[in-house]
């Protein structure tokens, strides 16, 4: 015998038909243990649907979960995610067509509500998300979408129901479901399984965790990189950029007569082309080899006896070479002078990074300063001959020998060179062959002032950056060890 149960509320009527298979005799109310058919009506909307047990259980479960969402505001993770609002208007048109195609019993109240304030918030339904879907619609309305199963196997499924429910209508649907759950004589194996939503399932929390991940990864990477960098040693010397554009003053300096050399016997000349003096005072050591190579080529073309000298030139010392250069024949000297000038043009800077270049250390420079002043004092006999301050630029090798000097101011240029104490202490490579400065050795440059009061002032020559200036090694072609010299 079929059992028929009906749960009725103003906005929803649920009718269940089934059988009692428990075999209980004499019970005042038979137990509906097998559900044959379920029918849910929405009288105010004029819609209804019929379904089997599986669909009805899904319907009841979904409505029960959504009822809890209305109370707490937290959507259960067991409900399909709320669709986005894209395409809401298209869906709304379909919805209105759907509502309009039905008979006039459709609640005008709901239709009006849809047409007014809920329009922009109508979400688009994804049928793949489930046969029963329900979402909030605005502040006080709800959208219930139902795709009933086909009545018989092989038949086409009926059109889906898309219902706009007010809170009161929704409550009646939920209450009908709750009454079914609460009835111990209807499907007793189905129970209302209410369960609070876990903190982990809060949508905002998971999104927050996802948002935090990149920050965590970035911070940890930065910390790891900082740890690795902490292990690296501090750099002892910080090298400055070597390429520097020459200022006009430096170009003029390069064009000025360079250090006087012993044995030249010629006063310094203003014309660089004809000057035997050779020193581009500010030339980096790194360009010396290239300069030497150029020079080799030029001296090869000019020279008559220095074919082998080109090979030896790399080993010969620049300072030692100054004197022989001065004694060379005019074409040779001119070629060497040109090669030096081209080297000077290529060279950009001779400023020293940290006061230490080649063999010079700061302590050494101060020692050289003392040695130079003492040497000048010892050699300076006729102090009264100096009427005005004489300023010189003096190149000193690492072993303390004065390799060359250059007058800086006009009185110094005009002063008789044979009376200069610098002339007396000047290193003569011819006399001390083999004991001079080593090849490719830089010279420390000092500023020497012989005052009219007979005092000697010696100080390190400082560049524009406040660092000591050094003279690069002179090219080896001028070496006195060349064959034929």
């Amino acid at each position: 015998m079929n059992i028929r149960r009906q749960y009725s509320l103003p906005n929803c009527i649920l009718t269940l038909e089934g059988l009692d298979t428990t075999g209980e005799e004499g019970a005042s109310r038979p137990c509906l243990s097998v559900l044959l058919m379920a029918r849910c009506q929405f009288p105010m909307l004029g819609r209804e649907f019929g379904c089997d047990r599986d669909f009805f259980e899904e319907f009841a479960r979904t409505l029960s979960l959504y009822g809890q969402q209305v109370i707490s505001g937290v959507r259960s993770p067991n409900l399909s995610e709320a669709p986005d609002l894209l395409g809401a208007l298209d869906e709304l048109d379909e919805l209105e067509d759907d509502l309009g195609s039905d008979d006039g019993a459709i609640a005008t109240q709901t239709a009006t509500a849809v047409a007014t304030e809920q329009k922009p918030e109508t979400p688009k339904i994804d049928p793949e998300s489930g046969p029963v879907q329900v979402y909030p619609l605005g502040r006080s309305n709800h959208r219930l979408w139902i795709q009933p199963p086909p009545p018989m196997e092989g038949q086409a499924a009926p059109a889906p129901l898309d219902l706009e429910l007010s809170t009161l209508q929704l409550f009646d649907v939920v209450e009908v479901v709750d009454q079914f759950y609460a009835d111990p004589r209807t499907l007793p194996d189905v129970a209302l399984g209410l369960k609070s939503v876990s903190r982990r399932d809060l949508p905002g929390r998971s999104a927050m965790a996802e948002r935090i991940w990149p920050a965590v990864i970035g911070t940890s990477t930065l910390a790891a990189a900082a740890g690795v960098m902490f292990l690296l040693p501090h750099p002892e010397t910080v090298e400055r950029p070597e390429d520097r554009v020459l200022t006009p003053e430096e170009v003029d300096q390069l064009n000025q007569p360079a250090l006087s050399v012993p044995g030249s016997g010629e006063p310094p000349q203003a014309n660089p082309n004809s000057s035997p003096s050779i020193t581009p005072l500010e030339a980096p050591a790194s360009t010396t080899e290239d300069g030497g190579t150029d020079e080799e080529n030029k001296t090869d073309t000019d020279g008559d006896d220095n074919a082998d000298g080109a090979e030896e030139s790399d080993q010969s010392s620049a300072p030692r070479s100054t004197a022989p250069v001065a004694r060379r024949s005019h074409p040779q000297r001119q070629a060497v002078s040109q090669s030096f000038r081209s080297q000077a043009e290529r060279s950009k800077t001779a400023s020293v990074p940290d006061g230490k270049v080649g063999t010079f250390s700061p302590e050494m420079l101060s020692q050289l300063n003392v040695i130079l002043r003492q040497s000048i004092d010892e050699a300076w006999s006729d102090r009264k001959a100096v009427k005005e301050d004489l300023e010189f630029r003096v190149g000193v090798s690492a072993d303390g020998k004065v390799v060359g000097y250059r007058p800086v101011n006009q009185p110094a240029r005009e002063f008789r060179s044979d009376r200069l104490p610098l002339r007396k202490i000047l290193f003569n490579p011819v006399q001390s062959r083999g004991t001079g400065p080593k090849p490719s050795e830089s010279l420390a440059l000092f500023k020497v002032i012989l005052t009219d009061e007979g005092q000697t002032q010696v100080s390190l020559l400082l560049g524009s950056d406040g660092k000591p200036v050094f003279h690069p090694p002179l090219p080896s072609q001028s070496s006195d060890e060349q064959p034929g010299e």
Partner: protein
């Protein structure tokens, strides 16, 4: 009676602050619905045999001061049994007020459909006005969370939310739904 409600799994066996606040607000809504609400709350505790938990009007007041937004907030939390008892009282009273609650919710819906302000429904306006007065009289308006309800519109929206919640409390499984919903997002 209390065993009807499932004890949630919490890190501390007490009602979280949000739960205490929501329970107090629902009681406030009941008081706004029913002029003799506060007396009815104590009376229903006796009818439900919950006197061991809510034994006097003063004790009820002390329980409600667990709401941190109260002006007379005391630094005590609501135990789970106290929370359960108050939820059972709320649903008990809500069922007694079923007709009124349905009328007000339906009236709200009709006003919305017609685009009319809420004060066009006399009974609804009465409820909203009383709720606003109760809220402002009892809550600490200096607190940031309370100060957010600084306009009549915001307080009306809160009162309507509570009214919808009370509507679902009138259901067959209203107490279980309310109790479970209170701990949504609070349980581990």
């Amino acid at each position: 009676m209390l065993s009807r409600l499932v004890t949630p799994s919490l890190s501390r066996p007490e009602c979280p602050r949000r739960v205490a606040r929501q329970i107090d607000l629902l009681l406030l809504a009941i008081e706004a619905l029913d002029l003799g609400g506060s007396e009815a709350i104590v009376r229903s505790a006796k009818e439900l045999n919950l006197e061991s938990v809510v034994h006097s009007r003063v004790h009820l007041w002390r329980l409600r001061t667990a709401n941190a937004q109260r002006d007379a907030h005391q630094r005590r939390s609501l135990s789970l049994d106290e929370g359960k008892a108050l939820v059972l009282i709320i649903t008990f009273l809500a069922r007694q007020l079923t007709v009124l609650v349905r009328q007000l919710v339906m009236g709200r819906d009709q006003l919305q459909v017609r685009g009319l302000p809420l004060d066009h429904h006399f009974r609804l306006a009465d409820y909203l006005e009383r709720f606003r007065a109760h809220f402002r009289a009892r809550m600490n308006l200096k607190r940031t969370a309370v100060a957010a309800y600084n306009t009549d519109e915001k307080l009306d929206a809160l009162a309507l939310e509570l009214l919808e919640c009370l509507l679902f409390c009138t259901g067959t499984a209203g107490d279980q739904r309310l109790w479970t919903g209170l701990f949504d997002g609070e349980v581990a």
